[in-house]
Structures are given as C-alpha cells and as structure tokens.
Assembly symmetry: C2
Homo-oligomer: 144 residues x 2
DNA sequence: GTAAATTTGATTGAGTGCAATTTAATTTTG
DNA sequence: CAAAATTAAATTGCACTCAATCAAATTTAC
C-alpha cells in the first residue's frame, strides 16, 4: 500500500502545518492590529522596542531572527509614524540605536489588550499552548 | 513583580515562536530545494500537484490556504519551467486546471529524498513531532 | 600607524502573501 | 430567456523576507 512517494504527500509534512498555522495566526492578528495601525512585523518590532526602550538594529535582528534587509524598511516606517527615533551610536558610528518616543510609549497602552483578545481566538488548552511553545523553542534553539 | 505590560513581552507570545520557527524551517529547506531548483512555495505547490496529477487553482488554494494572488505567479513560474501545464476546463471556462507534465513527474524522483533529509535536520523526538503536528492541525482546524 | 579584516547597516532584486478590484463565465431568478 | 447574482482567476498595490552586494566605520595585526 505504502509507496515510496508517500513521504511527499502534503499531509505527511511537518513543515506545512507549521507554515500554514503561522500565516493563520498572523491573519487573526490583522483586525486587532489594524485598530492600532501596525502590521504584524511592525508589532513584533514594537514588542522588542517597548521592552528595551533603546536597542540596536543588530540586537533587534538577533531577537527577531530578522536581517537588516527586512528591519531597515520596517524601522523607517515606524520612524515616519513618530513611534521611534533612529540615531547612530555616539561611541560606535556603525551602530544604529532605536529608541521609543513618547508617542510610541503611548501606543503601548492601546496595544495591551491585543494579546488577551488573541488568546480568546486561539482555542488551545493551557497544556497544549505550553507544549507547543516548548517544542517550537526547541526547534528554534538549534537554529544557528 | 508582574506589571500589566508583561503580556507584551516577546517571550510571552505564542505567535512569535510559531512565526520564527516557520521561517527557520523554510530556511533549512532552502539548500535542499536549491538542488532541484524550487522555492519553498513552488515545492508545496508541486506536492499537491504530484498527488492529484490534475487539480484546479481553486482546489489548490483550499489545500494550501493560499489565494489566487499568491498562486497565479507561482503557477506561471512552474509552467515556464515546463513542470506543469495550465489549461481552462472544457466544461467550465472559469476553472483553470493544472496538470503535471512528464518533466514534472520526473522531478518527483529527485524530490523524494528531500523529506528524509529534512527529518534529519529537525531534532525533535517522534513524540514531539506528533504532538506538534496534532496541535498545529487543531489550530488550523478552527480556521475558517 | 596603516593596511587588512571585521562589523554594521543600507540597498537591490526575486519571490511571496494578501486585500481589493476587475474580468469573464456560469448559474439563478423573475 | 434576459437581468442579476455568483464564482473563478487575474491583476494591482502594499508589505514583507531574504540573499547578495555595497559602503562606511572600527578593530586587528603587522
């Protein structure tokens, strides 16, 4: 019954549900993020910036697993919106520091309800959520 | 200790490891897919086409959770490579049927080692892989 | 101290994703 | 049957994502 191409069936791939679920979750964020006028990428960038207040582009890239080709236009957009400022480090001009503005901090108050509203949308038991998170971090940990 | 912004910390998001892991897996496919000159999206499209031999764009979209805006350019590229043909359905001209060519079927022989080589790259126990797959499908199932 | 190597971002180009609009074909309705 | 509604793809426009390349600043190694 099993033929040698079974491994190429879509349902036998681990990668595919991962990829599809990732896009599905981003889709569910969209209506919530529209309210605060952020794209998903801008949102996770702001999460890191809110945490650190000031952080270099390089360190942001390391936390988000994104390279400068992706981050540069996102950060320029966030600067345009007045949520952050981009300034070269005075000690080492190669480094670009990102700092959140007052307006950026004010947005955090509006963003704070996004995670709880998302939690309602994801119908996993707490055990499943923990298990999922653990396995994904294991996948990521032996990345790079 | 807990402040009301803890929910906005990157490490407390479920969405982020999902999104990062998805991109990480696609990155690991790249060197393998480069050998058969397919991008990741082209690869999962071919998985569906190999399974069905002939399938409409609409049905492909349903299986892959992708819309025509994404699929149309991917399928045109696959046609350019000679792996598939795109032909309107004779019964209902609104429908575009995708059919794999001999060259497309020949590529399957080269693709068959991709899944096993990927499995080696993903360091999960069988139990973890099953658990991950189950949870992801649950996430996807109450999508739409 | 200066040439070479490294580090940090920016830029460019190809390939997605997806919402919104358009076009063409078919089905439904009065 | 003809107008209206629906359906299937294609197109368009915006926003990533990433590889590859480039440019500027800094470190290092002689």
């Amino acid at each position: 019954m099993a033929d040698r191409f079974d491994c190429l069936r879509l349902e036998n791939q681990l990668c595919f549900p991962l990829y599809a679920a990732s896009r599905e979750i981003i889709r569910r964020y969209k209506p919530l993020l529209d309210e605060i006028e952020l794209t998903y990428t801008q949102y996770i960038a702001m999460l890191v910036i809110w945490e650190h207040r000031t952080i270099s582009v390089k360190d942001m890239g390391a936390r988000l697993y994104l390279d400068s080709g992706t981050l540069t236009p996102v950060l320029k957009k966030l600067e345009q919106k007045g949520l952050i400022v981009r300034r070269r480090d005075s000690g080492d001009e190669r480094i670009l520091n990102i700092t959140v503005t007052d307006k950026g901090m004010a947005l955090r108050d509006k963003a704070v309800n996004v995670p709880e509203r998302m939690a309602c949308s994801v119908k996993l038991t707490p055990e499943e959520a923990v298990s999922l998170c653990t396995i994904l971090h294991k996948l990521l940990s032996d990345a790079e």
